[in-house]
């Protein structure tokens, strides 16, 4: 018997009898015969757990990358995940629940959503946040669509220093919605070079720190944009130390929350966070948990402002999103609660320190230099004559960095992107420098 289907022969007979049918096939009589006849099996026999497990583990372990020391960034970061996060995420009551449509039996989910929203608002300096989007790219694309709804503008200003993966996803959504993108260059520091703002602009996207690793200076930017949206795409760990875009006038702050207690996961699932100002609450995509009371006056939480959502508003909804990234948001919540303000700051500064220690040592190597002069956080571009060769040397020393082609769309052809987190040890830094130095 199938271990997931508890119907014995006797069960099946009794159930068929109650329905008034002779056999199981009769349950499918309403599927047009030609459709049933055209059906072809996949060609797979049922398998036992041992066999499937062996197959899967065998496949997974073919990935040599798991043995390399990662100095990989490019949007996702290898931070330490405290074991307590995994333990909470393994609580079956959390992970085997659906979206909390029925509040009274979902107070666990609704309460942490409320906590998560608070934490995201605090990190970003914003007033309201939703309970998650698929990933940072989707959050950014949705912010663009929201800006369009709010401002009526169409053109989106996109820095050349935007992470190319983000750019590609935003471009897809924007094309669908009929919104043109326009490039904004960066300067020798690797920072946004914002000249004049053309008319009819819908929004400017700024990534903080940007894809070159450079910290942007957002002061005065919103003032220059006027009604157009300032959309900040912010990296959450640096936000512990950097001025939150919300305090600098941003209309929406979105980003990728993977770094907050979620594994790299080969790129999915991820966690898009989305925060904005109260004024835009009714334009915001996604689920929101709100505090209320029960009939006895006891505090409780419900999903609220659902009239924005697809299941009520249908084609008029603020987004089509339904399933989101809840469990990853729970991970972020537990992570932030575990670290607290001091711990988060510590992780940020440790990562900062590792990156700067490494950058300094690399810059002293002959033939290597930092590509940009601007301030950076935990990621930076190394300039060298032959990036492919540099990466190859690192690889042979058991070190992984993002392939140089990643930077090509940014106009960087002589660079290697390097990121560090608090997990990188002195010994690993030594190994990195030694490999580059050719020793």
């Amino acid at each position: 018997m199938n271990p997931y289907i508890p119907h014995t022969g006797e069960d099946i007979e009794a159930m068929l009898e109650a329905i008034g049918l002779q056999d199981v096939e009769a349950l499918f009589a309403d599927i047009p015969r030609p459709v049933r006849e055209r059906h072809r099996p996949v060609g797979l026999p049922p398998q036992d757990e041992l066999g499937v497990q062996r197959h899967l583990v065998g496949l997974a372990e073919r990935s040599t990358g798991r043995k390399l020391v990662p100095f990989l960034g490019g949007g996702l970061y290898d931070h330490y995940i405290p074991p307590v996060v995994g333990h909470i995420l393994s609580r079956a009551e959390f992970y085997t629940a659906y979206t909390p449509y029925q509040a009274e039996v979902s107070q666990g989910t609704l309460t942490w959503m409320f906590e998560y929203q608070t934490m995201i608002c605090e990190l970003t300096g914003m007033e309201v946040a939703n309970a998650s989007m698929y990933d940072g790219a989707a959050a950014l694309a949705e912010a663009v669509l929201m800006a369009h709804r709010a401002t009526g503008g169409t053109t989106i200003l996109v820095p050349r220093s935007l992470n190319p993966r983000l750019r590609e996803v935003v471009a897809t959504y924007a094309w669908g919605a009929g919104l043109p993108l326009r490039d904004v260059p960066y300067d020798a520091n690797g920072q946004l070079a914002l000249d004049s703002i053309p008319d009819g602009i819908c929004a400017l996207i700024v990534q903080q720190p940007n894809a070159l690793g450079t910290v942007e200076d957002l002061t005065g930017v919103k003032e220059r944009l006027g009604k157009a949206f300032l959309i900040a795409y912010a990296s959450p760990i640096p936000l512990a130390v950097l001025e939150p875009p919300g305090s600098l006038g941003a209309d929406a702050v979105v980003g990728e929350g993977q770094a907050l207690g979620n594994p790299l996961s080969f790129g999915g699932p991820l966690l898009g966070f989305f925060a904005t100002r109260k004024d835009h609450l009714r334009r915001m995509p996604g689920r929101v948990s709100g505090q209320t009371q029960d009939v006895n006056g006891k505090v409780g939480y419900v999903m609220t402002f659902q009239t924005r959502e697809q299941h009520i508003r249908r084609e008029g909804a603020t987004s089509n999103i339904c399933t989101n990234s809840a469990l990853c948001a729970l991970a972020a919540t537990v992570y932030l609660a575990a670290l607290g303000p001091d711990g988060l700051r510590r992780v940020a500064l440790l990562s900062f320190e590792r990156a700067h220690a490494l950058a300094e040592r690399i810059a002293r190597l002959p033939g290597y230099d930092l590509a940009f002069g601007g301030p950076f956080f935990h990621e930076f571009v190394v300039r060298c004559a032959d990036p492919a060769r540099a990466v190859d040397r690192l690889r042979r020393a058991g070190i992984a960095v993002v392939p140089p082609a990643f930077l090509h769309p940014l106009g960087v052809r002589d660079g290697v992107l390097v990121a560090a987190t608090e997990k990188r040890t002195e010994e690993e830094l030594d190994r990195f420098v030694a490999a580059l130095g050719g020793r």
Binding site: R38, Q53, Y95, A138, V169, P263, S265, D294, R346
Partner: protein, 480 residues
């Protein structure tokens, strides 16, 4: 409920971190003063024991598949096999960075490739993209594919309408709208199926396509499906299939054989991945021959025993995901497919449809059954006429007192006071019987003691919550 902010005290922490090794100021000096944060984010300050107790306590206020029957219609809340969870936590997958060069992530690529092949075979369609992160994301991808197709046909400006049965899920119209399509609603007929006459009237040179759910959200298989897709194709349109209900015919029929051009699959429904209290899921999309050139890039391609990423698709709609999709979710579904095999997949749909019809038979005397025909994996009752002022919401809340999660309510919209019941194949008959007994008892209570229902739930951590108040006095974050 008290939140984590109500626990703890300044200075407490749940984790011992390495020390910085140098004064903060030295490091901070490297960031321009204007970009330095003035006020730290207000985050909880709790010790590890407090942290663990708080979230353990929260979890205990939740209802999940592992705690009980969860017949939430349209959501396919089936058992989540434990093997899947463990395999997805394997560091060889979970700790893999997606920007590693292909030669260093062959395992992950192999797995994604195999998964894509399986989905193509299961749906009978020649192309697949694994990027969409959920069903609605798959719908968006599908709508973008339609837009691109008509652009390529030079019909982009003409074909602006998407036909949508009135029973459709909310994500369908919302997805169409995101790509600028106008939504035209198609009425259902007395059978609860697409009205062919109305379809014929609606079709024309301005129609880009139709979005169908098969079986539809009433749980009814569109018996005219071949006719419908033929008519749409003849009118120059394309057929989008919402695959949320694939559990109803898994291993027995394929959308590719029904005329689908695009088909999304909610892995967190049919393919057993847990829903996580809202997500993450995954919504891979399979497509017909015609749409192959437009699929997102990159593709995972097999070259002998090696796997690589291919970008050679000039007409692609582009990326909808920054990497290759929700790999850790797909692993679970791949394991599920391999465990089931063809035989197991047939058993899944058999079990799901059997259970739904069994409950339908048991409940149809006591509740209004607006469309009384063979159901597939779910069926829809109406809470109308149960008793003095009793609404479907009351039935739902009362079910909690009996220890069950309520069905989906007030959807589909075409049934008044809808109660949409999807038992799935993973429930023992004893549980179905107990649920039916509770439903029958509640119908009785509705007549005899309606206040029991109005005041329900009684046995939950909080009593009925005031949703209006949440909107009237919005509290969407803790204020300090």
């Amino acid at each position: 409920m008290s939140t984590i902010y109500d626990r703890g005290a300044p200075g407490r922490r749940a984790l011992a971190l390495p020390s910085l090794g140098q004064p903060e100021e030295r490091l901070l000096g490297l960031i321009p003063a204007g970009m330095r944060r003035k006020r730290p984010p207000r985050l909880p300050e709790v010790s590890q024991p407090e942290l663990v107790r708080h979230y353990t306590a929260l979890s205990r206020m939740n209802y999940g598949v592992d705690t009980g029957f969860y017949p939430l219609g349209s959501c396919t809340m089936k058992h989540n096999p434990k093997l899947h969870e463990d395999l997805a936590r394997n560091p060889a997958l979970a700790d893999l960075h997606p920007l590693l060069p292909p030669e260093d992530c062959q395992g992950a690529l192999a797995l994604l490739w195999e998964f894509g092949e399986r989905l193509k075979a299961i749906t009978g369609m020649p192309g697949v993209t694994l990027q969409p992160a959920a069903g609605a994301h798959g719908e968006l991808t599908g709508m973008l594919l339609l837009k691109k197709w008509f652009e390529d046909q030079g019909e982009e400006r003409k074909r602006t309408k998407i036909l949508l049965p009135d029973s459709a899920h909310g994500t369908n119209p919302a997805s169409a709208a995101m790509v600028g399509f106008t939504v035209v609603s198609l009425p259902s007929d007395r059978r609860g199926m697409v009205d062919l006459g109305a379809l014929n009237l609606a079709l024309g040179p301005d129609v880009a396509g139709i979005m169908l759910t098969v079986p539809n959200t009433l749980g009814i298989f569109e018996e005219d499906i071949l006719e419908i897709t033929r008519l749409v194709h003849e009118a120059g349109g394309l057929c989008y299939f919402d695959g949320a209900n694939l559990n109803a015919y898994l291993g027995r029929a394929r959308p590719g054989d029904m005329g689908a051009d695009v088909f999304h699959i909610n892995l967190h429904k049919t393919f057993s991945t847990p829903h996580g209290g809202g997500g993450p899921g995954a919504g891979p999309v399979t497509v017909s021959e015609a749409l192959l050139p437009y699929l997102p890039v990159p593709d995972v391609v097999r070259d002998g025993v090696e796997f690589r990423l291919a970008w050679d698709r000039p007409n692609s709609i582009g990326r909808v995901h920054p990497y290759l999709g929700n790999t850790l979710v797909m692993v679970k579904s791949l394991v599920y497919i391999l465990t089931l095999g063809d035989e197991g997949m047939r058993e899944v749909s058999a079990g799901a449809v059997l259970a739904a019809n069994y409950l339908r038979a048991k409940l149809k005397g006591a509740y209004v059954l607006p469309y009384d025909r063979l159901a597939k994996h779910e069926f829809v009752l109406s809470g109308e006429g149960l008793g003095e002022g009793v609404r479907t919401l009351d039935v739902a809340k009362r079910l909690m007192d009996y220890g069950f999660h309520p069905p989906t309510v007030y959807f589909p919209l075409i049934v008044k006071e809808a109660l949409m019941i999807e038992p799935t194949e993973t429930e023992p008959r004893e549980t179905l019987d107990a649920f039916a007994d509770a439903m029958l008892a509640i119908a009785q209570e509705a007549k005899e003691k309606p206040e029991l229902l109005h005041q329900a739930p009684h046995a939950t951590p909080v009593r009925r919550l005031d949703e209006a108040r949440a909107v009237r006095e919005p509290k969407l974050r803790r204020e300090f």
